[in-house]
Subunit: 436 residues, 2 copies
């Protein structure tokens, strides 16, 4: 059973804090192992990657077979049934249409002192996307990582996707093809991250690495951060549903289970202004769990981390949700737009009862790589901006330098940075000599 | 003497790679110490912070005196001479005017399937800015960190600034006041970062921590990353100047020295298409070093990491600069705008010989917190966006769900995520029953 909370109860704050701070994931400490793997790949390059792939994925590769050949990719893609291909194409098209709108604008202006200022956005040159192998090998994640990079204008886009025992996922390769990926390496783990960050004879280094992975991949990404850019380190998935009584309890139940089925550490929370509706959803969850394929995982997540919270009104629901800062937030209420305006922290909002969260995982358009573990307080989902960077621009005229240079000189001297001041003074002296 | 390179030399690639990969900083490994300090602050809160401040800063505090009182701040600010106050106010005004333009736009649209999509930006609720004590206590950095946060709309803005032996920097407090900072704590080091991330009885936790610091501060920021957001981990400063022969060698020399004087690990590089001009700049640097206050630091940086590179033409200069991805790039050439268009990786560009880099450190307007150590390949300077986050929005109608829901269901099933598919199917069944 999930925990049932009532915001009018005297011990509510204590119970809600316990929910907020529940430790859901015990990451194994693999940092030493990962450090050794990275050092090995830096020292021995391809040879190390090949040995580690043999050991962890039971797969024998050579430098020539580290990447899928174009013919292999075609052969794998051909295995995808038409209905799945069509679905993936629709998803790719909608994700692209959404992300194209994220392309940022350059800016340029001249201020009253005559200084021309601005900024310019440029793409990173090369990005590497990690795609886990096995059960968590999701073609939708390939689209969600690769399409923003492609839209950003990244020149070289590669994937590392381990194929344990040589088993590839045709949908992953099709998704890669649909989103402009140049090369797919069949390697994984910390060795793949090390190869992407530092390069080997066969694998050219990239500037940015994104994509989910297990504890080894996460630790490796943390370690190479600084040498290359990385995206966030994703934790287990979460959903918070705010629903009034005018909803089908079964719909809300499957929505809660759609996060719970990801992972035993996932968290699903219902906040409702109607206690009886909360009970009805709890019953509907139990009923759905009876037949759900992943009932063991979803059941454990719901039992250990699920919660149903009854609140006085929707304003209180919004305030509690803001304290959670959920990755996914569904607003199943009569006026979802009005409630949405009260939400200050959430990765993604799904408005109204016709917008199940799963739409956003695949075909809605917005990215499904979203901040977990309350990090929506300070971070955003993956976007085109993650594959671009901004260069600031400043262009002074002699008149502009004369107007603002003395203040720079004053501050430089106050900070004991004499050469900073002299670099301004040398030019101002020239202007003074010239009588300008 | 700096290294002299010539792009036409046969060993140029080897020498340039060595320059690119020179290890300029040996950060001491303070990770274990920092982990212990963080654990101590989490366990004992204020008491730990006070004890550590006594030990490291030789300053006795109580919970009541952890922060400067409003009267203390006023008293310190009153010590600032009018000329410095005016300079700081001009800087604040110009930095604000630049950063206001960075405020991102929300978006909302309805697509042909009837789905309403978009995103909305919101500020982080609370930010903490770290300001080093002692020599590197720069009021300009307070402005550069606090003003973007203030422009973003951050509700609560606090500073941690150690005051070794109780010595405060009046300009730092004035800068804090000018940029809307609510509270200034006189604490520093890993203990300050831990207090900002986890909170104590006196210090409320924040959501984002930015600002430069020593090895202990940097290690602490790495450790609390995830619990809170952080900015980049800054390395030693760098400048690359591309200059043709039509420049005053002395101006270029002081510009190079204005980075070199920051730190013995700083790096200053001149790229020129005229070897004689390069020699003239080298001579001008030596002359300026004779009298420079910080000649020991600047001289060591120039000797160990400085470089003068002669190239065939400005196109080659741009290509080499892009491989360096410098933090600061000056374009002292006849047509800086044309050359700027060829730059793909740089933190900030200063166009033309009337724009010394130091203008950008203080009063230009753009931020001076910029990506170091070649990270301009994948990251940007500090901006308003660093204190905001984006929530994506999706609102389906029944018709939109009917149009795109089946593809989501197909992909969910292909990923073995049954509940994801069921959350769509339950709604589609309802529409089918209703004959819609």
């Amino acid at each position: 059973m999930p925990v049932f909370l009532d915001s009018t109860a005297t011990d509510f704050e204590i119970a809600f804090d316990a929910l907020l701070n529940a430790k859901r994931e015990d990451s194994p400490d693999v940092d030493d192992t990962v450090a050794a793997i990275i050092a090995d790949v830096r020292a021995r390059g391809d040879a190390a990657v090949i040995e580690l792939t043999e050991r962890f994925d039971r797969l024998s590769l050579t430098p020539e077979t580290l990447a899928f050949s174009p013919a292999e990719i075609e052969a794998e893609c051909a295995k995808v049934p038409a209905v799945e291909r069509d679905a993936l194409e629709l998803a790719a098209e909608r994700i692209r249409a959404y992300h194209v709108r994220q392309k940022p604008d350059d800016a340029r202006w001249t201020d009253p002192d005559g200084a021309t200022l601005g900024w310019r956005w440029t793409p990173v040159s090369a990005a590497g996307l990690y795609v886990p192998g096995g059960l968590a090998s999701y073609p939708s994640s390939v689209l969600m990582n690769a399409i923003p990079a492609q839209v950003a204008g990244v020149e070289r886009l590669v994937i590392c996707a381990p194929t344990p025992d040589g088993k590839a996922n045709p949908l992953v390769l099709l998704a890669a093809k649909l989103s402009g990926v140049d090369t797919v390496y069949r390697i994984g783990g910390a060795q793949a991250i090390a190869a992407l960050a530092y390069g080997t004879d066969t694998i050219r280094p990239v500037d940015k690495i994104t994509g989910p992975g297990n504890a080894f991949v996460a630790a490796a990404k943390r370690r190479v951060f600084g040498k290359v850019g990385i995206d966030m380190i994703a934790g287990p998935s979460e959903i918070l549903v705010i629903a009034d009584a005018d909803n089908d309890p079964d719909w809300v139940a499957v929505d809660l289970l759609s996060q719970a089925e990801h992972d035993e550490s996932a968290q699903s929370i219902l906040v409702t202004d109607d206690a009886a509706f909360g009970q009805a959803v709890a019953a509907a969850v139990e009923k759905r769990l009876e037949t759900l394929e992943r009932h063991a995982i979803a059941g454990a997540s719901w039992r250990d981390f699920g919660a149903i919270i009854t609140v006085r009104d929707l304003d209180e629901a919004a305030a509690l949700s803001n304290r959670v800062a959920p990755e996914h937030l569904e607003l199943c209420v009569a006026d979802p737009e009005a409630l949405s305006a009260k939400i200050t922290h959430a990765g993604a909002i799904f408005l109204g009862q016709w917008t199940p969260e799963a739409i956003g995982d695949y075909v809605g358009g917005p990215n499904h790589v979203l901040p977990t573990a309350r990090s929506a307080r300070f971070s955003s989902g993956l976007s085109v901006l993650d594959f671009m960077k901004r260069t600031t621009l400043a262009h002074m005229t002699p008149a502009a330098l004369k107007a603002i240079g003395p203040a720079a000189e004053t501050l430089a001297i106050s900070e004991s940075l004499e050469a900073h001041g002299l670099s301004v003074r040398a030019r101002l002296n020239k202007l003074n000599e010239a009588g300008e």
